[in-house]
Point group: D3
Chain length 129, copies 6
């Protein structure tokens, strides 16, 4: 069963975050392999694999939350990539970040937008949507 | 023009938050009527009125952000109502709150869920979806 | 010397927070008297006693910070009282709270304003400015 | 395997939080039983069951973190109870909360201490340590 | 009317933030021009243009809030510049940042002070007050 | 007496943070020497010098709180060093950071772990435990 969670989580992680997700997992291997395993099992194996809400809505909500919290820039960038990977448009991401000015203030929205700009440029260079 | 923002904002506020939104506006009238006006003009007249993202996605993102921030219980409840008012299902709200355990920890998700339970009960009593 | 800090702190605490400050100190006496002493010595004996910035500016800044943090309602109320005690006007307090919508979002500003409304009512009942 | 996590988690939850933990789980049963299951499986079945750090240190660290975050009063109270249940002294809890004045400011420490005072009173009434 | 807000906001932005403010606006032009417009219209056209509180007090309060939140270093630096631009002294800025140790802890105050040191050095190089 | 606090604080600072602590103090000397003095007197002279809780538990709790807050990376690194300096093992630090995934979410735990990895590497290069 646990193995199922792990396998399901790995597939979901690849679907959403692609190589960036695997790099995070890899970077934890020498210091905290169990945290790497938990990242795969709980967020991806348990939560993102749940029915009841589509992946696009889940990713937009994560971009919203990380923009609002304002203290997790690397993960915000990973999930802006993730949103685009699962079919959100750049416009939708820009919209959700603008909206966070209302709930977490303009600095949070500005810093979220600068993260989005970096991600869009990285994808432009690679010819990704 | 400003008048347009105000009118557009009032309509959007009613569409999303119904009577609860108007109560918030009313409650500011004696102490800070300009803050009441700004609430109508900027979040509702400017942001929620933007094309580029549907209202359901906007409301789910707001529920996500307020659950993650964990310090704005009254506004979280207003927007759980708002999500349901614009067509989100209770299941989608439950899903988005569960997901916040990943990004803001279990206490944030638990307190978000307790807010949802209160809202669902209020709506059950009034026969609302 | 330490005694000087304590005495200077008690005087500053009374000047700013009046009876409300003393109640906080009193309420800590049985569980953590040293925390009560630190509150007197460091914030009031050291910081608020410093020259270089007037008390009104200090209190407005504290109201701003606590409104923005949004997770310390009791202390926010104490310092809205404090601001008025040292000569700020209600209008200035309302202004600083509105301004926090820009830096911490509308929920933070709204909850700050509701705290101010409670404080203003308490003072109206007592005939205080 | 998953069943093992659940069973191990339930035992750990009872060991740490006693009846309070079970009440939280019970309160989620009608609205989000899966969140209740995750609470048992991940925090308690996975994390608190790990070797490498004793339960007392884990509970003190949780009290520290929740005091510092300052936006999860119900969970802070549950874990002050939990700390005492696994062998921490009241003095140790008071010390860790005082220490948070350094890292999260005096309002966070004060609100943490008021939570501790409530917990200590509840336990006094029940004749608990 | 909207045009008035925009023009009033641009003037206020220049008065407070000078070239730094315009750079922020410019940097948003390709990704989110509407967010740039909102920054001009709401914070500067609406809020900072309000009577009832002088610009120096407004800027000090913003430095206080951003130091306390601790997650918006670029905006904190812009507003330390802004405070000096509208007539605050370096001493007043140092004082307000020290004070945040009380409300948000020593790490927040230290990181705020390191931001101030950078700003002061930038201004020293340009011969600014 | 104040002199006692300062001397006691300097000794405690050296015991916990070694050269890193002194560098922080030194870096404040030109801009805010009083903040440097307060850092020595209150956190180290008053709080860390208290009996009632051992230094190892205090340092683990600080690592927990700073990981959870997620907005004070430099201080988190200083206190991961500090934890190791006073006798905590790397395993204990890894455990406490993993645990924060439960209370502040996975991004906070991941960023805390990346800070720990940097600290461990710095110490490997210097042949420190």
């Amino acid at each position: 069963m646990d193995k199922d969670r792990y396998i399901r989580g790995m597939e979901k992680l690849k679907e959403i975050d692609g190589a960036a997700g695997e790099r995070v997992i890899q970077s934890l291997k020498d210091i905290a392999p169990d945290l790497a395993r938990y990242v795969i099992e709980f967020p991806f194996g348990d939560v993102y694999s749940r029915p009841g809400l589509d992946l696009k809505s889940r990713e937009l909500a994560t971009v919203a939350a990380l923009t609002a919290l304002g203290n997790a820039a690397p993960q915000l960038k990973v999930h802006i990539h993730g949103s685009l990977n699962v079919g959100c448009s750049r416009e939708e991401i820009v919209e959700i970040i603008i909206q966070m000015a209302v709930y977490a203030g303009f600095p949070a929205a500005l810093n979220g937008m600068f993260a989005a700009r970096e991600v869009f440029r990285e994808r432009d260079e690679k010819g990704l949507i």
